[in-house]
Symmetry: C2
Subunit: 702 residues, 2 copies
């Protein structure tokens, strides 16, 4: 199978015209492998079968990879128009498990195999022409017109693997082996696993923008994680090792399963791994196109939920704390075993990239230092739900590749399988599936005292909150400065020696002012009445990262990643605390501040007058109150009798600033004429609110 | 009573120090007359009686005029602080019938008469000090510190009259005549009325800002009205003339009454005018402090509803079209009889300003040319509901003097009564009461073929509409140009020879663009789906005037008067038509236009895609479509399947402009790159929306 050695090209180095040829070759090999995969279907009927009731029939995937090329190239402006709009609609979506809820259960009137084959030929010719004619300059980065070409090829590589799993679910009598005949027929005596020490260290995750290999958007960014010492199993768990769990009635025993796992197990009435076939009292093994006697030394292919139950059972049995590795622990194994990346191979060091077998193989076949199968053979489930690394940016041409999986429900698989090609076979590859899902995937277990930290970093989507996030951390709009930065200027101009002072930020919202103030003040306590609004601030403080989604137009969205260190606000986090509290019933400890900032708070609370009457209690003598309001009093928030102004009293208008002064004058003196701060609040790409907050500065009488 | 000849001072001419003395004298006389009025109450008990169940007891009015001085002078910044905050609250509001719904029916714990008297003395001394010490420069206009002083004096003059009516409603045994002893005891034989011809003409109403006499805000502005020929009764209707109506069972006969009138008449079970007292089979007459035998030659004192019923009955009886005069017809009588204004009198030409009697008098006593009592004796009801003249501006120190009465329910009374002093005795005085209300008021009838035009010109208060009015006609905000004026520039830049062309403005809103376009185009048809939004545009077209109220802060408002002639848009009204229609079902006649403008329409209608598919039908070949949208698609307005873009299709984003182009390309070509227009929408004085509308210009293919 050397002809399907499909290595993703170096995108930086080389001569452009040679690179063009290399890309064309890469495209051709991938396309041909994809074509050959569907040749395992014996007849046309097989194309219209659903391998999985929740998935489209195979014909969809046959058309889909070509349609993807066309749709992305049209979007990128590289193809002037669609080739077959009907095909490019029906073969466009419904691809993978992350969207199985969306699947239209109606019977599509699918085209014939011949029609699709013809379409694939047309598209292949178009892409070939593009590869030959597009201007090519190195490096090939996100802006380069060749990026969407490589994207299409890598997309096809993904579907070669996922379709191979679907084919593995079709009846074998509908299949032929075709070029995938190089099945590993070895089987060893039972392999006894063992745990090997791995020394912990900091691990740097994520690749930089100038990395020489193509990456999906979620591979980029930067995250440093501390890996503690752990032990890892020498081998992937083999079918024979997994059999012990089955024989110990593991599938019948709720205690080993997570809640999600038990729910899956009972719903599915699972009794053994999906590709095991129980006949009488013995097992056979389903491979992609054939059924063979059980290969006990092959890796057990399970979903995350089964792997986790196994670890829990084995922990109890051995008295050791066993679990799956985290993503970082997997990279630690890569590091200690000095695994080379695909680009540097002469021959794949593991059972990957179809370079060795058209199936998995014994777990003691491919050594990597003291371990086996650090990469290759089957994917390895991890404990880590996928999320973007800090610095993640959505790729505009494929903006829903990654973010729908950042939900804490999709766990990473690492290492690749025997049929992982292209990007899948690189060390930086990051694919994730729902925990109940099947791929060519098994697991290795680790022993550790530490639970890996689970960071979900999902995108905030609560619209009110994301509007505030953008107001605090996003771009500048309408040529206006963000409100928190304007308030910061007020602080700089009016507070002397802030480094000696404690500041209380009431109505801190999503927290930008508090982060900024922590650069100046000894201590900043930031309080908001709503946990929804301080959650992003706390996320930022904890992880240095904030993710949210804002409206572009209609249903289209923009994904935003904010890094505290990009704002240079990551060095004073110990001066700063965010708390949720009711400003009208502030806990006693919030007192003795030198400065209190209350921006746009009055109009939001039920008792603005009462707030003004009592706020002096929280300040030191001589302390400063900075009060801002739009005076947009609203009876749905506070009753008129609680407003300081903005109404008529005894027939005469009482302006808000006069009513506020009337109350504050008892304990404060006004330091200077009120200022007007004008700032925007983005609602969508074409719609904004602009408010003018009046800010008055009050000195508490001694 | 010569000492109570109270004439409002000339505010322009004269020497400042003499003027100061004149104002002090005017203040003293008014204050003294007010004091004397309350001396008609025999004992303290009378102060706590309610003359009318819907009004405060007399003690309120005794305190109120002084409190008004203080509250306005504090508001104007002329008094540094309140004198007696408790008094200045309890005596502040609940003055007059326009607010009787607001009256707190609880029993106030009113202060004693002595306390109020003492308070009045204190206030009088404070005002005297102010009059003596405030810098005085002529002319005294709205900005002059003496304006609020004169306002307070004129306010007291008003209450002298209205309290005299309340006193007239108290039991006579609680009253003494005091200085008001000069009751007219004449009574003539029955006066036969007759109708006298008056030649019509244009009449100019309203006074200018530099008018030499104090005026309430609603006296200013400018309105020209065509008065057609009419006849007017020589005399006010006397008690004897009115008796005929009573004897004809007028009060028992629904047919003579308006609906409002009949409703009042039956509710009150009225059988004769309020101040008539029926004893056995004869009538007596209640005057302010005493009951006298019926004075048949005195004017019948009735409310508007009774006067109107009388006219209807008399019309039927005589076969003539009789009604009350309009405000303009009253001014026509003033003109033809050459009535002098108060400032020019030696002695009042009528029974007014307490210069002759402390009561009304026979209707044939004071001649004015061929007529009698054109001014004086009693006020004269008119057919005209009060409203501000075009150019009306609310006075900021008393912003609810006028506008609450601009509701079509308050009819003007003209001419003044025997006790009308100061501003009340001037020709420009404009007071109005609800039609069921009693003052010292009677009527004169006119015969005319013409129904007077009733212009209400009330202030638009529908918030969505007033926001649009301000966006179209108001100030510029945030340094941005109004959207309609930006679209006008687009028209100027892209449409050649507009004078030959017909333009259709869809979604015309409150109409600014249509008015502006009518300056350029041969014909403008402006259509909006909402009658609420085109009503102001139609008002502007018809009357040249638009009134609306916008939010300042909280419950405080700003009153806006827009004059078409100030915008120089009043000269092309015949090029322009506003119609309400559904853009999706446009009537057939709306076709063949050279230019169609559809600004921010798509996002507002249910079928934006369908609109785009059919709009070419309304254009000439080669015509231009100017399409603007914020692309703020909202499922509450249109379902996603009807959006042209702003969603994902087959997994790929379809941007709105691309979706729009896709549809329009069939019949149009895009003329130039889309423009972005950024404009503000004012919500309150500190809160705005800012939208960016994308405008694309399309040429219909021939």
């Amino acid at each position: 199978m050397k002809e399907f050695n499909i290595k993703t090209p170096h995108l930086v180095k080389g001569n452009p015209e040679e690179k063009r040829q290399e890309i064309l070759d890469y495209f051709n090999r991938t396309f041909e492998l994809d074509t050959q995969l569907y040749n395992t279907l014996k007849d046309e009927e097989a194309f219209y079968m659903r391998a999985d009731p929740l998935r489209h029939p195979i014909i969809f995937y046959y058309g889909h990879t070509s349609v993807f090329f066309v749709n992305k190239l049209v979007l990128a402006g590289l193809l002037p128009s669609h080739i077959n709009p009907h095909f490019e609609s029906i073969f466009a979506i419904g691809v993978d498990e992350m969207s199985w809820d969306d699947l239209n259960q109606e019977n599509y009137d699918w085209p014939t195999v011949t029609e699709v084959r013809e379409y694939r030929r047309t598209v292949k010719a178009e892409i070939t022409k593009l590869i030959k004619e597009l201007p090519l300059a190195l490096p090939i980065n996100w802006e380069n017109p060749f990026w969407p070409i490589i994207m299409g090829i890598e997309h096809q590589n993904i579907h070669i693997e996922t379709s191979s799993v679907l084919i593995r679910q079709l009846p074998v009598d509908k299949l032929q082996t075709g070029i995938f005949s190089n099945i590993c027929d070895e089987d060893q005596v039972i392999v006894a696993n063992e745990l090997i020490d791995v020394e912990g260290s900091k691990i740097q995750l994520g690749k930089t923008e100038n990395h020489p290999l193509y990456g999906w958007d979620l591979e980029y960014g930067s995250f440093e994680e501390q890996v503690e010492d752990f032990k890892a199993s020498k081998y992937l768990v083999s079918n024979s090792e997994f059999l012990e769990f089955i024989e110990a009635k593991g599938y019948q025993n709720k205690q080993w399963w997570t809640e999600e796992g038990w729910s899956w197990c009972t719903y599915k009435q699972a009794e053994h791994p999906q590709f095991w076939i129980k006949e009488n009292n013995s097992y056979k093994l389903r491979l992609m196109t054939q059924i063979v006697p059980m290969k006990w030394s092959f890796p057990a292919e399970i979903n995350y939920l089964e792997a986790k139950a196994f670890c829990n059972w084995k922990s109890a049995k051995t008295g050791k704390k066993l679990r799956l590795p985290s993503e970082a622990e997997w990279y630690k194994l890569v590091e200690v075993t000095k695994v080379q990346d695909a680009i540097d191979w002469e021959v794949a060091p593991g059972n990957v990239n179809l370079e060795h077998y058209s199936s998995s193989c014994p777990v003691n076949k491919f050594p990597f230092g003291d371990f086996y199968d650090v990469i290759g053979n089957v994917w390895q489930w991890t404990e880590t739900p996928i999320t973007g690394y800090p610095g993640f940016k959505v790729h505009p041409l494929y903006d829903d590749f990654s973010t729908p999986t950042f939900d804490g429900k999709h766990n990473l698989i690492k290492g690749g399988s025997w049929i992982s090609t292209g990007n899948e076979a690189t060390l930086n590859a990051r694919y994730a599936f729902r925990r109940h899902f099947y791929q060519h995937a098994g697991f290795r277990y680790v022993e550790s005292e530490f639970e890996p930290e689970i960071r979900v970093d999902s995108y905030e989507t609560d619209e009110e909150v994301t509007i505030s996030c953008e107001q605090n951390y996003g771009e500048d709009y309408l040529g206006m400065t963000k409100l928190p930065l304007q308030v910061l200027e007020v602080l700089k101009n009016h507070i002397e020696n802030p480094t000696d002072k404690r500041l209380l930020d009431l109505n801190c919202n999503t927290g930008r002012l508090a982060f900024e103030a922590s650069q100046l003040f000894k201590e900043v306590m930031a309080i908001d009445a709503s946990a929804r609004f301080i959650r992003p601030a706390i996320e930022l403080q904890k992880n240095g990262l904030l993710r949210y989604v804002i409206t572009d137009e209609g249903e289209l969205s923009v994904f935003k990643d904010i890094l505290l260190k990009d704002l240079k606000l990551d060095n004073t986090l110990d001066h700063l605390q965010f708390m949720q509290d009711d400003v009208m019933k502030l806990k006693e400890q919030y007192t003795g501040y030198d400065v209190i900032v209350a921006m746009n708070l009055l109009e939001d609370i039920r008792q603005p007058k009462a707030f003004l009457s009592m706020i002096h209690e929280r300040l030191c003598a001589g302390g400063t109150l900075i009060l801002g309001s739009t005076y947009d009093w609203d009876t749905s928030k506070s009753q008129l009798e609680n407003w300081p102004g903005g109404f008529k009293k005894d027939g005469e208008p009482v302006r808000s600033i006069d009513g506020i002064s009337h109350i504050l004058n008892e304990h404060f003196r006004l330091e200077s004429e009120p200022l007007g701060l004008t700032y925007p609040i983005r609602k969508s790409s074409r719609s904004f609110e602009v408010q003018k907050s009046e800010v008055s500065i009050w000195k508490k009488k001694s």
